[in-house]
Symmetry: C2
Subunit: 353 residues, 2 copies
C-alpha cells in the first residue's frame, strides 16, 4: 500500500538502484541469508527495495528452489459445517508459517485423482487430505510417490500416511454411557456410510461400548450419507423394523440426528419423551433446535491446525515420529436425552432399576 507502484520491478532493478549485484539483493532479502551481508549494504538494499516497491516473484523462486510455499487441501463438501473450522485451523497454521492454501471441493471421489494431478502440477509442497475413504487408491498412490500428505478427520486404515483424527470409539462410549446412566437399555444406532473410516469407526465404537456392558444394539441402520435426508430415511427404516422400539438413538452425526428428528416428528413421536437422541460434531445451532441436541463436541479447528503443522514439519524436514494423532471429543448434554418413560401398564416405577 505504498505509493503508486507501477508494475514489475525485479531484483535486478533493486540491485541497480542499490548499486550492488543481484545475488547480494537476493541474499539481503532472504531472512535465512541476510546474516551474510554487511549491515550497511543491508540498509541500502532494503531502502531501494522499499522505494521501488519491489515484490518478490514466487513463481521464479519456486522454479529455482522447487518450493512454492503452497499446500492443497481436499475437502468433500465445504458446505458441511464440519469443514469450515477444520479449514480455518489449517489456514491459520499456514498463514503463520508463510504458506497459502488451495482449497478444492472434491464432491465426487472419482474426481480426486485429476485434481491431485493438477495440484501437483501447481507444485504444491504438500496436501491435507480430508476425503480419505476405505480402500482409497489415492492413499497408496500418495505414499508411493513420496508426496507429503497428512489426513484429517478421516484416518488411513492402512497406516501409510500420518493422520489427525478425533477418537471415534471414545465418542461413542461417551454417548452410550450417558444413555445407559439415564437408564436406557434398548439403544440403536444410525451409522454413517460404511465406505468412510468415520462411519465404520463410530459403528464399531458404538457396538463395543454396548458390549462392554453386556448389551447388544437395538438396531443399526446405515445412512447413505452424512445428511439430514439420509438420516430421515434411515430413521424410517429403523422404526419400520420389527420388535420393540428402541428407547434411545445414537447418531453418527448431527445432521443425521436432525433427520431422525424429522422422521420421529412426522410419525408423531416426541424427543426425548418417546426416544432420546444424540448427535455428533456439535455443529452450530444444534443448541437452538427443538429440543436442543445432546451431542459430541470435536475440536475441529485443532484437528485442522495440527494436521497442517504436521504437514509443514514434514515438508521442512522436521519429520515427527507420531504418525497418528488422536484428539479427545467431549460430551455435551442438552435436552434431547432424558430417562426413559416408565414401561406402560406396569405402574409408574421410580428410576430405581
Amino acid at each position: 500500500m505504498t505509493g503508486p507502484t507501477p508494475s514489475t520491478v525485479t531484483i535486478r532493478d533493486v540491485a541497480q538502484a542499490a548499486g550492488v549485484h543481484v545475488s547480494t539483493v537476493s541474499r539481503a532479502l532472504n531472512p535465512a541469508k541476510r546474516g551474510l551481508i554487511s549491515e550497511e549494504v543491508l540498509q541500502v538494499v532494503e531502502a531501494a527495495a522499499q522505494r521501488l516497491g519491489y515484490r518478490p516473484n514466487r513463481a521464479a523462486s519456486a522454479l529455482r528452489t522447487g518450493r512454492t510455499h503452497t499446500i492443497g487441501v481436499l475437502v468433500p463438501d465445504i458446505t458441511n459445517p464440519v469443514f469450515p473450522p477444520i479449514l480455518q485451523g489449517i489456514e491459520a497454521s499456514a498463514a503463520a508459517r508463510g504458506y497459502f492454501v488451495f482449497v478444492a471441493n472434491v464432491a465426487d471421489p472419482a474426481l480426486a485423482p485429476p485434481i491431485v494431478e493438477r495440484m501437483l502440477a501447481q507444485q504444491v509442497d504438500g496436501l491435507v487430505n480430508a476425503i480419505a475413504r476405505r480402500d482409497d487408491p489415492l492413499l497408496p498412490y500418495l505414499a508411493r510417490m513420496g508426496i507429503h500428505a497428512v489426513l484429517v478427520n478421516r484416518a488411513d486404515e492402512s497406516g501409510q500416511l500420518p493422520a489427525v483424527v478425533s477418537d471415534d470409539r471414545l465418542a461413542m462410549k461417551l454417548a452410550v454411557e450417558h444413555l445407559l446412566s439415564l437408564g436406557h437399555r434398548r439403544i440403536a444406532h444410525l451409522a454413517g456410510p460404511q465406505g468412510v473410516p468415520t462411519g465404520v469407526g463410530r459403528r464399531q465404537g458404538f457396538e463395543q461400548a454396548l458390549r462392554d456392558h453386556d448389551l447388544a444394539p437395538a438396531g443399526v441402520v446405515e445412512c447413505e450419507s452424512y445428511s439430514r435426508e439420509a438420516g430421515r430415511m434411515a430413521m424410517r427404516k429403523l422404526l419400520a423394523a420389527p420388535g420393540r422400539r428402541p428407547q434411545a438413538l445414537v447418531c453418527c452425526n448431527d445432521l443425521v440426528a436432525l433427520g431422525a428428528y424429522d422422521e420421529l416428528r412426522s410419525q408423531g413421536l416426541k424427543v426425548p419423551q418417546d426416544m432420546s437422541v444424540t448427535g455428533h460434531n456439535d455443529m452450530p445451532l444444534v443448541d437452538m433446535v427443538e429440543p436442543p441436541l445432546t451431542t459430541i463436541r470435536l475440536p475441529h479447528r485443532e484437528l485442522g491446525w495440527r494436521a497442517a503443522e504436521m504437514l509443514f514439519d514434514e515438508i521442512e524436514g522436521r519429520s515427527l515420529s507420531a504418525s497418528t494423532v488422536v484428539l479427545r471429543p467431549e460430551l455435551v448434554v442438552r435436552a434431547s436425552t432424558q430417562a426413559p418413560a416408565a414401561p406402560p401398564a406396569r405402574g409408574r416405577a421410580g428410576s430405581g432399576q
Copy 2:
C-alpha cells in the same frame, strides 16, 4: 495414477523420448497450439508424455507467461455459514476453468494489505474480495494497481471495482411488507455494523420500505457484529428503550435474529406471540430452531459463481460491461412471524384491522 512415476520428468525428457524438439512438445501439449503440429507427431509426443508420466510444471510456465491460473479469495470468516456456499460457487467456477483458489481468512481488516501483498507475490491472476468495508483503502489500491478484482456479497460504494451482490433494499422491502401485511405497524430493526456495506444497505432498505408506507421505524439498534451475541446485546438495548415495545423486528442477519431470540426468551417474551422476528440469509438449520425463522434467502452459491466468472472473463480479456450484478433474494415465511396480538384490555378483536 498411472504406474510408479519416479519424480521430475520434464518436457525435455518427453522431447528426447519422442525424438522431437522441446518446442514441438510444448506446442503439442498446449491445446491452443496443437493445431500447428502434424497428426503423427502429435501421437508420438502424447504417447511419450503418457508413458513417462509427464506432468507440466506450472511454476515454470508461470514464470514465462506471467499467468499462474490461480486466484485469491479473501473472506472475513470461513466459519460464518454465509461464506462456504459462496466459496463453493467460486471454487466450482474455478475448477471448470482450470484455476485453483487460494482461500485466506482475513479475520482483521488490518491484515488485509500484507495478505494481498503475499498473494500478489504468489502471482495470483486475480482476487475475489468478500471483505470490502466502507471507505476501505484496499479498494482504490487494487483499482489503482490495475489488479483484477471482483467483490462479492459486499459492494464497492465508490464503484471502482465490479461486484456481485444481493439486493439488500429488496430484501428489506420483502421483510417489511410481509410484516405489514400481517398487520404490524411498530417495526424495529437490528442493524448490521455500519462499517460494512451490507449493514448500511439493509438499514437504509428497511427505513425506505417503511417510508414507502408512511411509517417510521419503531427503533433501530446497530449490532457490533453479525453474531448471535451481538444480536442479543442489541436486542437488550432495544427492549430497554422507552416507549411501546415494537410488534415486530427485522434483523440484518439470521445469527442476529437468533441472538434476539435468546434475549427475548430470557425476558420471558415469546416469538412470535409477543414479537414477530425476521432474519436474513436463510442459513442451514434456521428452519429447525424454535420457532422456525422467517427469513430472506440469498443465492449464495450463485453469488460466488458469478463473481468468479466475471473475474475470469476479466483476466482472460473478455471484460464485461456490467460492473455490478445484483441478484434477487427471496422471502421464506416460517413460524417466527404472525399477526400481532389484539391490543390488551380492548377485547379480542378478529384479525380484521
